[in-house]
């Protein structure tokens, strides 16, 4: 609701504003939606001047349409597909994480979401030499585990150190801290400051349900509104700066025998473009296993329901090592 004020656009003078206000026109929306001839008569202002102001205000506050062909050209050059570090997971995601999209990993506690996130961070930092922003809201991030993953993938100590330096971890424990960390990221990217923070292509958020759960229930719609604001912020970040956003979420069931579905309710379920469900393999419960099954729950490119097997064990998220429980699980 932008209020009209002098200097908002050329041609909008103080006296004009006073005359408009006297006739009940206070905001940009009021001005644009009213009949200009009518106003010209009532306020005794020049019709031509009003039309000119309307044109400038619309150009300033409305969105501009782009042509499909231009957008396609732009996307071809700016979209990248980031490897997750696990070839079978890449296959599930149609070759990897696409920039410009929000991908969700959901699963019960202990299903391996944090491990997969660490694997992704390691892969992007080591393999692509790109910077990673890791927002940790559960305290599940352990640098030693990350180092272990990097050690398994790269021999050179120098390389491992550089890879570690390219991953920035921010601990956020409520929604406002998360929103402000994202705002900081946005400012940094808009200014294109070539500082210690190089090109950033991925943001990993583990987990998003931890900061949103406290908001839901109670004053119902306010919590949902903040959740949708977060969703909007993530999507605009992804689209505007060509970043891949990975979020983790809990999984719930409607009844004790129903299928697993993502937590945070219906409104959140529309937000990610791709959703992967992580589950432990059915088999044996006696010994802790590092085997997991990932299935595709939502995708705009592949049929849903396809499954792959993952091993989140020791270093490489693919290496089939005997059951050694991973640290920090």
């Amino acid at each position: 609701m932008v209020v009209l004020r002098a200097g908002l656009c050329p041609g909008l003078t103080e006296e004009m504003i006073q005359l408009l206000r006297a006739n009940g026109i206070r905001t940009v929306v009021d001005f644009v939606s009213s009949d200009l001839e009518d106003i010209a008569q009532k306020c005794s202002l020049s019709y031509k001047a009003l039309v000119a102001v309307r044109r400038v205000l619309l150009a300033q506050f409305s969105a501009f349409p782009t042509n499909g062909a231009d957008l396609y050209e732009e996307l071809k050059s700016s979209t990248a597909i980031l490897p997750t570090g696990s070839p079978s997971l890449d296959q599930l995601l149609d070759s990897g994480l696409y920039t410009g999209e929000v991908t969700e990993l959901m699963g019960a506690p202990g299903s391996g979401k944090t491990q997969v996130c660490l694997g992704i961070a390691a892969s992007v930092s080591l393999g692509l030499k790109q910077h990673v922003l890791f927002l940790d809201s559960t305290g599940g991030f352990t640098a030693s585990r990350l180092y272990q993953i990097l050690r398994a993938r790269a021999e050179d100590g120098e390389e491992q150190l550089e890879a570690l330096q390219r991953i920035q971890v921010v601990r956020v424990f409520n929604i406002y801290e998360m929103l402000s960390a994202l705002q900081e990221l946005r400012d940094r990217l808009s200014q294109q400051v070539v500082s210690s923070m190089g090109p950033l292509k991925i943001v990993v958020i583990d987990s998003v349900s931890a900061v949103i759960y406290p908001l839901l229930g109670g004053k119902h719609s306010e919590g949902l509104a903040i959740m949708m604001q977060l969703a909007r912020e993530l999507k605009t970040l992804a689209k505007e700066f060509s970043i891949a956003v990975v979020v983790t979420n809990q999984a719930t069931r409607e009844s004790s025998t129903g299928p697993l579905k993502p937590a945070l309710g219906r409104s959140w379920s529309f937000v990610p473009s791709t959703r992967v469900l992580l589950e432990s393999k059915e088999a044996t419960w006696e010994k802790a296993t590092t085997q997991r099954v990932a299935s595709l729950a939502k995708s705009s490119r592949q049929p849903t329901g396809i499954q792959v097997e993952l091993d989140i064990g020791n270093g490489d998220v693919q290496e089939l090592s005997p059951a050694t429980p991973a640290q920090g699980l």
Partner: protein, 278 residues
């Protein structure tokens, strides 16, 4: 001088009207209960929970529109308003590649040249964008399809901003709906809008939307939550749902209702690489 200006403006509109908008009658016969649908002035709402194929259906309609007549399309222009950054251009290009006779870059760019995209971040911006698009409809006579995905994207945010007053909460959407109705009527467009199933169906039968005869036929999860102005301007409501049977056909179902005449038609489709297939 003001008079002459005004005359010129309505002259453009008149010209656009005289040239006529192309017919959309053969857009997608499976989706509509009547023979010759949609006609200009129709407002069609796609409603359904997530993952039920609404956006895929939109890609299908866009492809049908922008593909040239030589390949079986309608060769008209489409305006797509995206309110939640959902539009996946690469998916649309995959669909086009599968449907065109010649899959050259040139051909694809030519088709995409008939598509216009706008992104809106708030309901206020949506309203102002609609005002500024009015000009575009005047100058592009072959622009006859307007798609809005989705109109319910700002629901929670508007509700929270409006505080306690229901009027304030719905004000922006009401203005958008009124202006959309004016645009569709004056420029002879067809409007497709998607709404998301954000609310659970109410168990109170007094609130039921359909007359009793249809209620057990259509077990749709529909509970109206958008403002009355929007609900009253919709002429067709199409419900999307996913078939959860364990059979091999992972299909989707559409139930299409013509609201004024109470005609209901049901059919199913599947989604392949080339898009929606009935």
């Amino acid at each position: 001088m003001a008079d002459a200006f005004r005359r010129a403006e309505s002259g453009t509109q008149l010209l656009a009207r005289l040239e006529g908008r192309s017919s959309l009658k053969n857009l997608e016969p499976y989706l509509f209960a009547e023979e010759a649908s949609p006609v200009h002035g129709d407002v069609i709402e796609f409603h359904g929970p997530e993952g039920t194929g609404k956006t895929e259906m939109l890609y299908h309609l866009i492809a049908r529109c922008i593909i040239p007549k030589s390949s079986g399309g309608l060769e008209v222009e489409v305006m797509f308003i995206d309110t939640d950054y959902h539009f996946d251009m690469l998916r649309l290009v995959t669909i086009l590649e599968n449907r065109l006779a010649q899959r050259t870059e040139e051909m694809i760019k030519q088709c995409l040249g008939r598509l216009f995209l706008v992104n809106c971040n708030t309901s206020t911006q949506l309203l102002l964008t609609l005002y500024s698009l009015e000009n575009m409809f005047c100058t592009h006579p072959s622009l006859c399809l307007l798609i809005l995905d989705s109109i319910s994207a700002f629901y929670w945010i508007d509700r929270s901003n409006g505080g306690e007053s229901l009027n304030l909460q719905e004000m922006n959407l009401k203005k958008c709906a009124n202006f959309l109705e004016k645009l569709v009527r004056e420029h002879h467009l067809a409007l497709f809008a998607t709404t998301q199933t954000l609310m659970q169906k109410s168990t109170n039968s007094a609130e039921s939307f359909f007359p009793l005869k249809l209620q057990h036929e259509t077990d749709t999860d529909y509970r109206p939550y958008l403002c009355k102005s929007w609900q009253q301007m919709v002429t067709h409501r199409i419900f999307f749902s996913k078939q959860c049977n364990s059979g091999n056909s992972k299909g989707f179902t559409v139930i299409s209702c013509h609201l004024k005449r109470n005609h209901v038609v049901k059919c199913s489709f599947s989604v392949a690489e080339c898009g929606v297939q009935f």
